[in-house]
């Protein structure tokens, strides 16, 4: 009987997803699921979110035809979905505004968040300030050092930033600590999960809030070219900007490419290629691809971009990999740095190191596309936060 329940229950993308959490969190997750379903059906909620996205966050973001980049890499038409122009500098605000509105609807007075690069932390601190919610952000100590500016931004916005010293002191440890807080605080606190990871319903909620990226891009491309693009490319850490771009195009059957962090190479601990080199396991409450050793211990990861430095990936990506709906590839630190410089020089746009992974992969395959093709890249964030990292890596001409 139990086997059948597994087959028929919600919260799964094929064999992936689920709710691998302690009993204590089952009720708050059910509460969240039901509040979210109500909110989805409520035109007033949709209108309020739409209003904030438009008048506060600056949506719709442009779909910019990057001829300078196309010429520089001898490639087809390239469109950049300019999430870097969102308020706070990345796509993360789409989700933070949605979830903070949801927190208000749930009657919670406090939100917590994990952050790697600091972009989700800044976005959540921003939405919390706007919507009068207390905010605490958990951030690995290593990440706090490499993203010091974002730490100060969050504090300026009134958020408390709590350093996490366990493990590798990066994103996964920040998620661990946020989960530990939430299991004790959910009575008055909403966990504003930053990516399409975690137990059901988080992967679905975050995907829905980020799908605005793909909905806009699809319409904008139709307006500009009179047809759909031939290929979509986005970076994948937890996978929120990529799923946000891909999801509204799923039925169109076009080519979609997710770019993972190749780091310093394919040696264990030196990359963030959960889909490329990982295996199926459980992390942070859901079943997906995970970087783990042969005894089921989660491995350390490395990427020059803090936002991709994560040993797991959203369960829906695992599903799309298995179904062959999306190709998952990787780009290493050096290539991402070169692509950062490339976009600066060819377009006058400084991309986040995360987004630079998508640029780098595009550059490496551009010549294989017919010139008449069109590629849409999600430029998920701007690179101001990464200037120090980029400078110390040696691009300083």
């Amino acid at each position: 009987m139990l086997e059948q329940e597994i087959e028929h229950k919600a919260g799964y993308f094929g064999a992936f997803g689920g709710r691998f959490v302690p009993e204590t969190l089952i009720a708050p997750l059910a509460e969240l699921d039901s509040a979210y379903n109500d909110a989805r059906e409520d035109p007033a909620f949709g209108a309020k979110l739409e209003d904030y996205l438009h008048n506060y966050a600056g949506r719709p973001t442009p779909l910019y035809r990057a001829n300078g980049l196309s010429n520089a890499i001898d490639g087809p038409a390239i469109y950049l979905k300019r999430e870097d122009l969102c308020h706070t500098g990345s796509h993360k605000i789409n989700n933070s505004l949605g979830q903070c509105l949801l927190a208000r609807r749930l009657g919670k007075r406090r939100v917590i968040a994990e952050t790697g690069a600091g972009q989700h932390g800044v976005a959540t601190a921003t939405a919390a300030a706007l919507l009068k919610l207390e905010c605490e952000v958990f951030m690995g100590e290593t990440d706090m050092q490499r993203q010091a500016l974002n730490v100060y931004r969050m504090q300026l916005l009134g958020a408390k930033v709590t350093p996490v010293r366990a493990g590798s002191s990066t994103l996964k440890d920040a998620v661990n600590e946020a989960l530990r807080d939430w299991v004790a605080s959910f009575d008055h606190t909403h966990y504003c999960m930053g990516s399409v990871v975690g137990p059901h319903p988080f992967p679905r909620i975050v995907r829905d809030f980020q799908s605005v990226i793909g909905r806009e891009a699809r319409r904008q491309h139709l307006d500009a070219m009179g047809r759909l693009p031939d290929c979509l490319i986005a970076c994948v850490g937890g996978g929120s900007n990529s799923i946000g771009l891909f999801y509204p195009f799923l039925k169109d059957g076009l080519r979609m490419i997710g770019v993972e962090a190749g780091g310093r190479g394919s040696t264990n601990g030196q990359h963030g290629r959960s889909l490329g080199l990982g295996s199926v396991g459980l992390l942070h409450g859901s079943k997906s691809y995970v970087l783990q050793d042969d005894d089921g211990q989660i491995m350390e990861t490395h990427s020059i971009s803090a936002g991709l430095d994560y040993p797991g990936v959203g369960p829906e990506h695992a599903f799309m990999k298995e179904k062959g709906l999306v190709e998952y590839v990787s780009v290493n630190d050096e290539e991402a740095l070169q692509a950062t410089e490339l976009l600066c020089r060819s377009e006058g746009i400084l991309p986040a190191l995360e987004s630079a992974h998508a640029i780098a992969y595009t550059a490496s395959v551009a010549r294989s596309f017919p010139k008449s093709d069109s590629i849409v890249i999600c430029l998920s964030g701007r690179g101001d936060k990464d200037v120090e990292t980029i400078r110390s890596a040696g691009i300083s001409r």
Partner: protein, 263 residues
Amino acid sequence: MSRIDELFQSVKGARAALIGYTTAGFPDYHDSLAIASSLLDSCDALELGIPFSDPTMDGPIIQESSHLSLEAGTRVSDVITLAGELRDKTEKPLIIMSYYNPINSFGAAAFAREAALAGVDGVLLPDLPLEEISHWKVHGDRAGIDTMLFASSTTPPHRLERLGEMTNGFLYCLAVKGTTGLREGLSEDAFEFMRRARESCKVPLALGVGISNAEQCRLAAGVSDAVIVGSALVKEALDAFRSGGDPSRSAGRKAAEFARSLS
């Protein structure tokens, strides 16, 4: 009848049982065996925790013991071996507590088989709630290993009944909303929850998480059939380990103190 069922039969109407916890392989295999043995001198049953790299439900004490155990190179197979060595010396129930990923990686069927062979009586899998438990339970049942489920003060009434029906051995009732670790006192919430659990469930009820001293043990024993202590014991062992003392003697002494509070 399983060893766990026999334990509850034997204490029924007399006293609450004491179930101790230690992280297997902490601080290393040899000392861990000594800690477990000395806990079994006073406890009625023992939980052996498989260390995990990302213990999201644990507070600082068990995070630390898990970290030290992994640093010492502990593997899932070592935990099974440890249980086997303990089984040679005791007839008391041995329970493995684990996040599911290490067991999933080992292979649920192989784990169930080997653990049963080593003399393990039951498992506690805190990140497999009712909806996900069948991933494991088919294998546990086949190998004759009891699978105990968890209930929380947040568990709604109909679900609480269901948990009571589905669990083997006993129902692990969570005394706090939060991670494992020391607490100032038992909350009124916990007592109210235990009243509710008693009405809804016929199985023995064990109360655990956050029970930190002998007085709290005594109070917990008043509303449960078993009291589970983990962090308070591991803390004794950790403190002794850090100060160059004998972790097994310190943890054993604390367990004896807790046992006296229940007699």
